[in-house]
Symmetry: C2
Subunit: 279 residues, 2 copies
């Protein structure tokens, strides 16, 4: 099956699902959408993100390819339910930010269903259908993670979908993915949150001066802290061990910096290396 | 003396000094500039950031108001030298990011000179005269810190300069300023550098995958790590104790997050509070 002949169902019409719908406009046979928030589903139709809104069960019964775009732990609840409603030969994928638990749920699906894990490496600090943007995926890397239910058809069709929205496929194993994003993504969120907390404390000690003096640099460093809490809670809790390890290594780096404040030449070398690595 | 009648000398024609010169165009009688890099001084004249380039000694002998815009520790070296060359009644200020050491150097200047510490809360991750921008200070907060040599004239003229470039004056004591910026600014830089270091480590463990998966969110969180190392080294080393304290409190916040990964409801509350505080 080619993408242009496929009926694609998107479960969850927030930022990620809505943007996917917009990006697939004209590239698939039909875009179905379901969301527990009926008002969001209505706006998704009105905004052109999907062709038709319906219940999750109706969507599962009609779609050739279903993309799950809901928080990770909600996916884990819905995967077995949706699987019962899917047609023989249907393909299931997701856009969740952690992959071990989701791929384990895909592994045990009935053999009549194909499934491959997915994670597009992009996002915004805004959420909801009203923030959807058809260019969100352009230029992003989209990790595909094989499962026990991944066959050539699933790999090919989902790969075609990724390319159709302007993203680039990277194949990775679930374990490698989760370890890598614990630092490349989840740690950056935790750090932003801890910076916000630190500023709040400093604000108390300085009678409001610290908050008053926080400028654009601070705002940029903490922008991720504005992300959707439900989404992030699910990410952190389904990648707990890697996140904890990553926080530990980050704290060790910070302790190194504190120690280097007494060793100017070494501090200079580390800062120069960081500047170059970040360029 | 009013600003429009003043000859203003800017020592250091990098991002901050060059931007100041551009912002003062048409608002002062004459803009003099000095930089140890003669090519930078020539470009500052060509780009309209100053009216005339000269040596620091020549500038000090002619200016009514001298603004130091060089790294903090270089200021500490130059302040006593420049002071000898200043005319009676001349006013000295600076744009350095830490204030205790600079204000202590201002305190002991000859009584024939007025001096007030300054710190505009803005910047970029680019440096040098070619990055100068006449709108850099618009809307920024500019801290003014009194010293033993601050009189009404210095306070009024420097305050007028701050407003002339579009910034807002905040008065603060040196100690309060340094404590506040240790978190509001310096910690954000250290955190960005430590995130870059963590990604490098994760990259090693994941065979390059972590770096490959770092997306726009990570780039935003680490943007500060691209700042000028000479400038930052001077900032960190002249605010060492507050920065160290701030790193310690930040590490404690991170340890709290790691612990809360086992306490979902508390983690949710903390993340929601951080999201709101950052809005």
């Amino acid at each position: 099956m080619l993408l242009r002949d496929a009926t694609v169902g998107i479960v969850g019409l927030g930022l990620m699902g809505g943007s996917l719908g917009l990006a697939l406009d004209g590239k698939v046979a039909r875009r179905l959408g379901a969301d527990v928030d009926e008002a969001a589903a209505t706006r998704a139709v009105a905004g052109g993100a999907i062709d038709e809104a319906m219940t999750e069960a109706q969507l599962a019964a009609r779609a050739d390819l279903v993309v799950l775009a809901i928080p990770v732990r909600r996916m884990l609840e819905r995967i077995p339910v949706i699987a019962e409603q899917l047609r023989d030969g249907a393909i299931l994928t997701d856009v969740g930010s952690t992959k071990s638990d989701i791929c384990a749920a895909f592994d045990v699906l009935p053999e009549r269903i194909s499934a491959i894990g997915g994670h597009p490496m992009c996002g915004r600090e805004v959420s909801g259908i009203d923030a959807a943007d058809g260019t969100l995926y352009v230029g992003a890397r989209w990790v595909l993670v094989p499962t026990q239910r991944t066959d050539h058809l699933a790999d090919a069709l989902v790969g075609e979908l990724v390319q159709a929205v302007g993203a680039d496929v990277i194949e990775a194993r679930r374990e490698d993915h989760d370890r890598a994003v614990a630092t490349a993504s989840h740690l950056a969120y935790v750090s932003a949150q801890a910076l916000v907390g630190s500023l709040g404390n400093a604000d108390g000690v300085t009678d409001g001066l610290a908050g008053h003096l926080a400028a654009t640099g601070f705002a940029g460093a903490t922008r991720l802290a504005g992300g959707n809490v439900d989404v992030w809670l699910d990410i952190l809790l389904t990648n707990r061990e890697h996140v904890r390890e990553s926080i530990g290594l980050f704290s060790a780096q910070l302790a190194d910096f504190a120690a280097l404040l007494d060793d100017e030449e070494s501090l200079r070398r580390v800062l120069e290396a960081g500047r170059v690595a970040n360029a």
